[in-house]
């Protein structure tokens, strides 16, 4: 057998291992319900409930931030994050949390938020408002 064929086989084996590791180490997007049922960390996608309180008071604890999020199934849960409130958090239209359930709270280790992009309707309203404002001046 040629040496290069042996080498080729090794390479293919590694490539397959990579693909398997990709599949097996990826986690899933879930809901708060899924989070309750599992011990491990997972991603939850949802949006901020803007009607409920958002707690961040640096003078009490600079590393405590809590809010209420509704997941994509509409279920709501209190979320706690050990850090400061991300800038422009209130404006987020979608949030992706990484973390796990602790009792009745979801403890997030990472928050990724998407702010309204330039090309969506939200931004247009802003444009309108600011346009009117300069008109009245």
């Amino acid at each position: 057998m040629k040496k290069s064929s042996i080498f080729g086989i090794i390479i293919i084996a590694i490539a397959i291992a990579v693909i398997i590791s990709t599949y097996s180490s990826s986690s899933t997007y879930g809901t708060f319900n899924d989070a309750r049922e599992t011990e491990s960390e997972l991603h939850v996608v949802g949006h901020l409930n803007k009607e409920k309180e958002l707690v961040y008071d640096a003078t009490r604890d600079a590393n405590y931030f809590s809010f209420y999020m509704k997941d994509n199934k509409g279920q709501e849960c209190k979320v706690v994050f050990a850090g400061t409130k991300p800038q422009d958090f209130e404006r987020s239209e979608q949030i992706v949390l990484t973390g796990q359930m602790r009792g009745n709270e979801f403890h997030a280790s990472k928050i990724l938020m998407k702010c309204p992009s330039k090309y969506t309707e939200d931004k247009l309203n802003v444009t309108e408002v600011s346009a009117k404002k300069s008109a009245s001046l």
Binding site: F7, S26, T28, R60, D61, A62, Y119, A131, S134
Partner: protein
């Protein structure tokens, strides 16, 4: 309904759009002409197609310059009727960032890419001689595809490309103001640039990156030309200098991006394995691998297919990475993906064009390819170089497979999410590849092409390996890497070995074989880069540890202690690691809000050994919708101290509309209820954060704007406030004018105090002072995070050394070309 809009500057846009169409037409002409020129029999000496191809390409170059000039004119003059100017600039944007506004949008990115490709194309026309026709065919095709990306014209019902000259009123917004003919008079200002992009790195990072991307087309074009024209072996040597150039520039661009992230973004590091970052590395890894195999083929005749394949795939990956970054497919998995411009399928088409051409050529020429039937020697440099390159390719394959998870989700309808600790995952897998690759960059230095004396090889490489192990052991204990998993120690060993072995080659080269030094220098740089990244990322330490803080719940308190953010009230020093840190004040410069953080380090004897101020800033864009925090870093030779403001009450995102109304009149709600003290001269008042001494009474106190008449009495209480090691003077005044009594309180903002001279108590010989203190929550504060990055300078120095190595190699390979 036609409206005669007023005040618009339509000429530059119309002109620009004309140039866009011209660029497209010219590149099409150039492509077709070069194609037929390449098909011609060279012997015939007919240059008409060639001439036409050149004219097309030159016309294309001129059009691109025209587009750039028009766009720049629009941005520079703030013509907000154009979507591009409105989206990315504002009146208050400093002039030097106007340049970076140019490539802020995706269209600008494409333009930049086209511009560099045009520059490179002209160099190729000038330099390549017999290769010009086939090579320029591919370059012109690439120009053509890029031109369609910025076309912005409806063909039938399909909208092709996105033009930078799109008018705001045509951009698809359904806003009623566009019913007004003079809508422009309502649009006072643009949205402004994203504050995190307002940084000088954004002026030079994108052009470098795009030059790198553009340069990738050259080796690809040579490979295609070689297959197409059946000049299978000749193209390799031609392509090597260009491949070196592309690797050098793209590598620089990537590291510049990392440096930008480190210096001015707030994710606290230089690399986050974000999909967009990964995407820019794919082509680099593949071409670096390809480059090595090209050299293998040149020196030994082995591995022809692998070399061709890697070069071809690297350019396909340029398109794939554009697709990932620009199509919006990354969605929720990336922090900084571009927004979707509705060009998803257009970009897919781009990939397919450059994928299918090589596939067709490879299949149709397969039987003719000079694939060697012989087996390589086990103890030969070419074999192990080949192995190393394949591992580079594999590491790239892993990156692609994993970064593309959203793509797999879209294709197979699955719902995979990235791993919960993505950074750790990538670090582990990529470290495994890096260990093998770095070891091989070392070992191959002791091997010769074709055949090597085995005993001698084993002895020398073994000796150097032992020496490296010693150095590694020492370095690992000094830097604290020994506390990390064994995997990273092995990576350290591999990197040190690479530096040592190549150091030997460099030392030899200085004695004579200097022409080999380029690769050795580049390898040393790469090794140092990895060492720096490994130590800095692995042993970085958050020094703003926070053990305090009122706990919200017992459960929460147990996790993750200490926390990483620390609260600093203005002028109250806090001990943080070895430093005493004080937030001393803030200054505003334009849209930037700087915070002065005073660091002091005390020796054991209590003397100040170090004293400096860091100025992290928070930038808001002018409409008050976005804030971004930019760190400031103290650079030492062996480590960096990185500081960034994560939160502050000094400025808010809400618009300050009632500013100036409520001030002065009633600020009592900003203070806790007054505490009255009766004091005589020399007495001391203690309060929460210090003490106040009544030094004396000033019988001739004056109050501004109130003239004193005969019989009026004005007395000032000379107070000295001592708080947190600082002293302030204040003189509140007590005034009897006619029958009325007034008091003029004095505020000491920095100390959060208001002092009021309330009464004179003549019978006791005392006066009454009211002390108002600001409650904690009203006082100015910032929350900051500080991280120490050890040995990060290795990373930057390694990059510079690697670039020097690439440069040396380019000169060497270029010289080899001329000799032939």
């Amino acid at each position: 309904m036609d409206i005669a809009y007023q005040g618009e500057h339509l000429l530059p846009g119309k002109l620009g759009q004309f140039f866009v169409v011209l660029a497209l037409g010219a590149s099409l002409l150039s492509f077709i002409s070069y194609y037929f020129a390449a098909k011609q029999d060279v012997e015939k000496n007919d240059n008409s197609w060639l001439r036409l191809g050149r004219i097309g390409f030159w016309l294309n170059t001129v059009s691109i310059l025209g587009i750039a000039a028009c766009l720049f004119h629009i941005i520079y003059n703030h013509y907000f009727e154009y979507h591009y100017a409105w989206s990315y600039t504002s009146l208050s944007l400093p002039v030097y960032y106007i340049v970076s506004a140019f490539w802020n949008g995706q269209e600008g990115g494409f333009l930049l890419w086209m511009f560099w490709q045009a520059v490179l194309g002209n160099i190729l026309i000038w330099k390549t001689r017999s290769w010009e026709r086939p090579v320029m065919t591919t370059v012109a095709l690439s120009q053509l595809v890029l031109a369609t990306m910025v076309l912005g014209i409806n063909i039938g019902s399909v909208h092709v490309g996105s033009s930078p000259f799109l008018l705001l009123r045509d951009s698809g917004m359904e806003a009623p103001i566009f019913q007004n003919a003079d809508y422009l008079s309502y649009i006072k200002d643009g949205k402004g640039m994203n504050p995190s992009l307002q940084n000088y790195w954004m002026v030079i990072h994108p052009p470098t990156l795009f030059l790198g991307f553009a340069a990738m087309v050259v080796p690809f074009a040579f490979a295609i030309a070689g297959l197409w024209q059946r000049r299978y072996k000749e193209w390799v040597q031609q392509a090597i200098p260009y491949a070196l150039f592309a690797c050098m520039i793209l590598g620089t661009g990537i590291i510049m991006g990392a440096f930008w992230a480190y210096e001015s973004l707030n994710f606290g590091g230089f690399w986050a394995w974000d999909p967009v970052e990964n995407a820019s590395v794919f082509p680099w890894l593949m071409l670096v691998a390809g480059l090595h195999v090209l050299i293998v083929f040149k020196n030994s005749g082995h591995a022809y297919f692998t070399a061709t394949f890697l070069v071809l795939i690297s350019f396909v990956l340029v398109w794939y990475s554009s697709f990932l970054a620009r199509s919006g497919i990354l969605g929720e998995s990336s922090v900084h993906a571009f927004t979707d411009l509705g060009m998803f399928w257009h970009l897919v088409l781009g990939i397919l064009i450059f994928l299918l051409i090589p596939v067709y050529l490879l299949i149709s020429r397969w039987s003719e390819l000079p694939i060697s039937k012989k087996d390589e020697e086990t103890y030969s440099r070419e074999f192990w170089m080949f192995v190393g390159s394949v591992f580079l390719g594999l590491s790239c394959f892993q990156l692609i497979a994993f970064t593309s998870v959203p793509v797999w989700n879209a294709i197979f309808g699955t719902k995979l999410a990235p791993p919960t600790d993505q950074v750790k995952f990538y670090n582990i897998i990529q470290s495994c590849f890096a260990i093998i690759i770095t070891l091989l960059t070392g070992v191959t230095q002791f091997l010769k092409y074709k055949k090597t004396d085995i005993t001698r090889f084993l002895i020398t490489s073994g000796v150097y390996f032992g020496f490296s192990a010693l150095v590694t052991a020492l370095a690992v204990f000094i830097t604290g890497v020994n506390k990390m998993p064994t995997l990273y120690i092995l990576l350290m060993l591999g990197s040190v070995y690479s530096v040592v072995a190549n150091g030997k080659v460099l030392a030899d080269a200085l004695k004579g074989k200097f022409k080999l030094a380029g690769s050795a220098v580049a390898h040393i740089g790469f090794g140092l880069l990895l060492i720096g990244a490994l130590i800095a990322a692995g042993t970085q330490k958050v020094i703003s540890e926070n053990h305090t803080g009122e706990q919200y719940s017992a459960e929460f308190a147990k996790e993750e202690d200490p926390r990483e953010n620390i609260l600093l009230y203005k002028n109250q020093p806090v001990q943080m690691g070895d430093y005493s840190v004080t937030f001393t004040g803030d200054t505003i410069e334009g849209l930037d809000h700087f915070f002065n953080i005073h660091y002091k380090r005390m020796g054991k004897d209590g003397k100040v050994t170090e004293d400096f101020i860091l100025r992290p800033k928070v930038t808001s864009n002018n409409n008050g919708t976005g804030m971004s925090s930019e760190p400031d870093t103290k650079h030492y030779l062996l480590h960096d101290l990185y500081t960034h403001v994560t939160m502050t009450n000094v400025l808010t995102t809400e618009k300050k509309e009632d500013d100036g109304h409520t001030e002065e009149t009633d600020d009592s709600k900003n203070y806790d209820p007054a505490v009255a003290h009766e004091v005589a001269i020399g007495d001391t008042i203690t309060y929460r954060e210090g003490f106040i001494v009544l030094k004396g009474l000033n019988k001739e106190a004056k109050v501004q704007s109130i003239p004193l008449n005969e019989g009026d009495i004005a007395v000032g209480a000379q107070l000295e406030v001592h708080t947190h090691g600082k002293t302030y003077q204040a003189e509140p005044v007590y005034l009897i004018k006619g029958r009325n009594v007034f008091d003029f309180a004095k505020k000491i903002e920095d100390a959060g105090l208001k002092l009021q001279f309330a009464k004179i108590l003549p019978d006791k010989g005392k006066i009454e002072i009211n002390v108002f203190q600001q409650p904690e929550s009203k006082k100015k504060f910032i929350v900051l995070k500080a991280i120490k990055f050890p040995y990060i300078n290795f990373l930057w120095a390694g990059t510079i050394i690697m670039v020097i190595g690439f440069l040396m190699s380019i000169f060497r390979r270029n010289k080899e070309l001329k000799v032939r």
